[in-house]
Symmetry: C2
Subunit: 474 residues, 2 copies
């Protein structure tokens, strides 16, 4: 007797967005849970998404002269304590190695939650002249932060990321680098992930522990909650002063270096899922999809059909990530399976279509089917993929714009917040920000570079100093 497995259905996103999300993560086989809470297993299909992000960034880094390195997983507690804001921000969630199977360690070791202190210590050793600058290092690695509430990809005790750490002779150069990184992330969103972001500066309250300026890209999920998807920090000379990273400049003066750090993580995969997918499962934009095209013979035992399917597979496989499914399962099962997995294009090869010189192509992003001539469809594929990518980006962009409001009164702010999405308001500063967070649960996402909406802050009635985009967020 055959064990027949049905393709598993996902929960409706309208009935339970959180369950819908974890259903997709698990049922599309992106991840599995391990036995330690907050640590997930990246399965082949999920890990391939991260590999494609890495490839995209590595390609860009090669053009800009950023070099990959690998710094240690651990550092001493002493090192951690050198920059005060930084340790205050990260210490509570840092994991410690205190012993081995055999004995206690003399000194506790911190597992990196981020690596500013390691890079700073190294830079202090090797930088002495303006000729040693800039240094443009990046590493892909795992980091550990002991988060309480965890959710696959979005927040884990361990996650995978890329962290850039650069050192410059001047403030201007470091500020340019900070902007370079956040613009690179915007480009990554636009070109690979089909994700539009709101990009801007973080408020004093929300900026990175140890930074002077933090820029962030923020994505808006389908449930109207925001997600911080990447950050870029101008560290000024904070770490340089704590670690004594000095250089002799061309004018013979000893000066502190200016530093930046910036990162995106596997969290981007969470955004990808939450922005694009539907109740049938995952919907992947074509350029990041591990399988871009799946070929399904409708009568797999029909020799003509099988031969044609193989021919098309061989034709396409040099250009695209393509999969030919010859499993002994029904076409219906296979359709559901690859819809669940969000494969952008499905080519159905059927005897009837072939008799008419045609194939059927299904597009996952709008669940549409069209017939194409089997002799000419190949030339259409680049256009199809491009259109799918563009439409997915535009749809997400439209959702973002439709859920971006502004408020002139605190009541209006609260009313807008009920509708989910972003609300802009001009505020007096951190006091207003804290009050808003306590009373509404919304946090400052980014500062907008736009004129004030109201001269006074609707929350404190003090003079407004900046317009800030608020939202509830993951």
């Amino acid at each position: 007797m055959k064990s027949i497995k049905r393709v598993e259905k996902v929960t409706s996103h309208l009935s339970d967005f959180g369950q819908w999300y974890t259903d997709i993560c698990l049922k599309a086989e992106l991840i599995a849970y391990s036995d330690v809470k907050g640590f997930i297993i990246y399965l082949p299909y999920g890990y391939a998404l991260w590999e494609n992000i890495q490839k995209y960034l590595n390609y860009e880094f090669q053009k800009t002269g950023h070099q990959n390195v690998y710094f240690p997983l651990v550092f001493s507690e002493k090192l951690f304590q050198k920059e005060k804001d930084h340790i205050q921000g990260f210490s509570p969630e840092a994991a410690m190695i205190t012993s081995t199977g055999q004995k206690e360690l003399f000194e506790k070791l911190v597992i990196r939650p981020t690596s500013e202190v390691l890079f700073s210590q190294y830079y202090a050793k090797i930088i002495s002249s303006y000729r040693d600058l800039p240094k443009l290092y990046n590493q892909f690695c795992n980091v550990v932060r002991w988060e309480k509430a965890t959710k696959p990809f979005l927040r884990g005790k361990e996650f995978l990321w890329q962290e850039g750490h650069t050192v410059h002779a001047t403030e201007k150069e470091a500020l340019d680098q900070t902007l370079f990184a956040i613009q690179l992330y915007e480009k990554l969103g636009k070109e690979l992930l089909a994700l539009p972001f709101v990009c801007g500066r973080k408020t004093e309250k929300e900026k990175f522990a140890g930074a002077l300026i933090t820029y962030s890209i923020e994505a808006l999920m389908q449930d109207g909650q925001a997600l911080q998807a990447g950050t870029s920090h101008y560290l000024g000379t904070n770490f340089a002063q704590s670690f004594q990273i000095q250089f002799q400049d061309q004018d013979h003066q000893n000066k502190y270096v200016h530093q930046t750090s910036w990162g995106v993580s596997t969290r981007l995969i969470g955004a990808l899922i939450m922005v694009h997918s539907d109740d049938e499962g995952l919907i992947l934009p074509p350029y990041i999809a591990p399988i871009q095209i799946v070929i399904i013979p409708l009568q797999p035992k029909n020799e003509l059909v099988q031969a044609e399917a193989k021919k098309i597979f061989d034709d396409l496989k040099t250009t695209y990530r393509v999969h030919l499914d010859l499993q002994n399962k029904t076409p219906g099962w296979k359709f559901s399976q690859y819809e669940l997995k969000g494969v952008p294009l499905r080519i159905e090869i059927g005897a009837r279509d072939l008799a008419q010189g045609e194939v059927t192509i299904f597009q996952r992003y709008n669940n549409s089917k069209n017939n194409f001539s089997k002799n000419t469809f190949k030339a259409e594929i680049p256009k199809l993929l491009k259109t799918i990518h563009d439409k997915m980006y535009q749809k997400a962009q439209k959702h973002l714009e439709a859920n971006r409001r502004q408020a002139s009164t605190y009541q209006e702010f609260k009313d807008h917040l009920q509708k989910k999405g972003y609300v802009a308001m001009s505020i007096s500063g951190m006091d207003a920000e804290i009050k808003i967070k306590t009373e509404t649960g919304a946090t400052a996402r980014v500062i907008l570079e736009t004129p004030l909406i109201t001269p006074n802050c609707p929350v404190t009635d003090k003079k407004a100093i900046q317009t800030v985009l608020f939202a509830k967020s993951y």
Copy 2:
């Protein structure tokens, strides 16, 4: 005043092999030390070597259907204890997370020294039928082992590696997979690293904790010491029984799966250095070299020379990893610098050569210089690189063969061992192996599939059961 830095010289390998090795690691800027002993920083030039090994293996894995995944950094102590031999082998050197910045953990967590238990636990959850088999997973990651004596690349508390973990329905299939992996490593050595290995089974004493069979590739360093450079394990049903990984076979019987695991690490980079380099520094085989060709204009301010150098650079950069050095430093300094860094080919562009329509090409592996027509040299480069690679492999192979001896008496064994390198002897088993290790410091590297040299073991005088290749090793 300019600060003039000399290219740093390395210690002679004949006077102090250990110092020569670490000099190259540090001065060729492959690594730097961190402040925690045993944890090293992989600098761009060193990390690029590992990236090229990863690319090679990923390309091969794609052909064979091995899929990349990422499993957690940690697991529970309970999980660790499930396979008895395994925990006995790895427990003493396992690092533990016991607390965070805020509080003690309820349960100690083990940082992976290797991930058999994590994969086994996952496989137990997802495998139920022969249709679920095989699973061919691989991960690139960091692992932690609390080694006492550490040496860059060769032995560290943290290292980077690739670990394959596969599951099969039959013993035969798993044994084939075990051999597939070790043969892949031999191919990697032959095609990318120009490293010949002795390949064979480990003795019972030396095999992996938890395995039935371990195959190993062993490289021979220039000082005559062996280095285990990669291993592949047939785990039998050991882990399957401990973790209850069972499947219903086509004959409806429930059976335990057969597993394999196999890995190579950044240790390969240590072998690369110790086998190929000389007293001028690193010598890199061309296909793994991060910079394959460096172009040095001898009169960088001469416009003709500069234009020609740039033209050649543009010509070559689409095909090779090529670097044009326009720094304001003397050609002599640059020559030493790239010799220290082991760049396989140096193209010198000089006014006098150009007047005769020529360029000079320096080959690092034999420190030879030849003139080539500047119009035709480009076509010679693939041949040059291939020849360099082949000659480097042959030289290492010759060294290996010249240092491989056999012994019919224990005294002969000891005499041969004085000359360094490998000594084969037919032994009675583990008792002889232990005696040899205690008395001579040599360990069993691999079992040879050759006829017995002597009917009795020269050490114990008992009946010999196998011929084993011994050596002192790293």
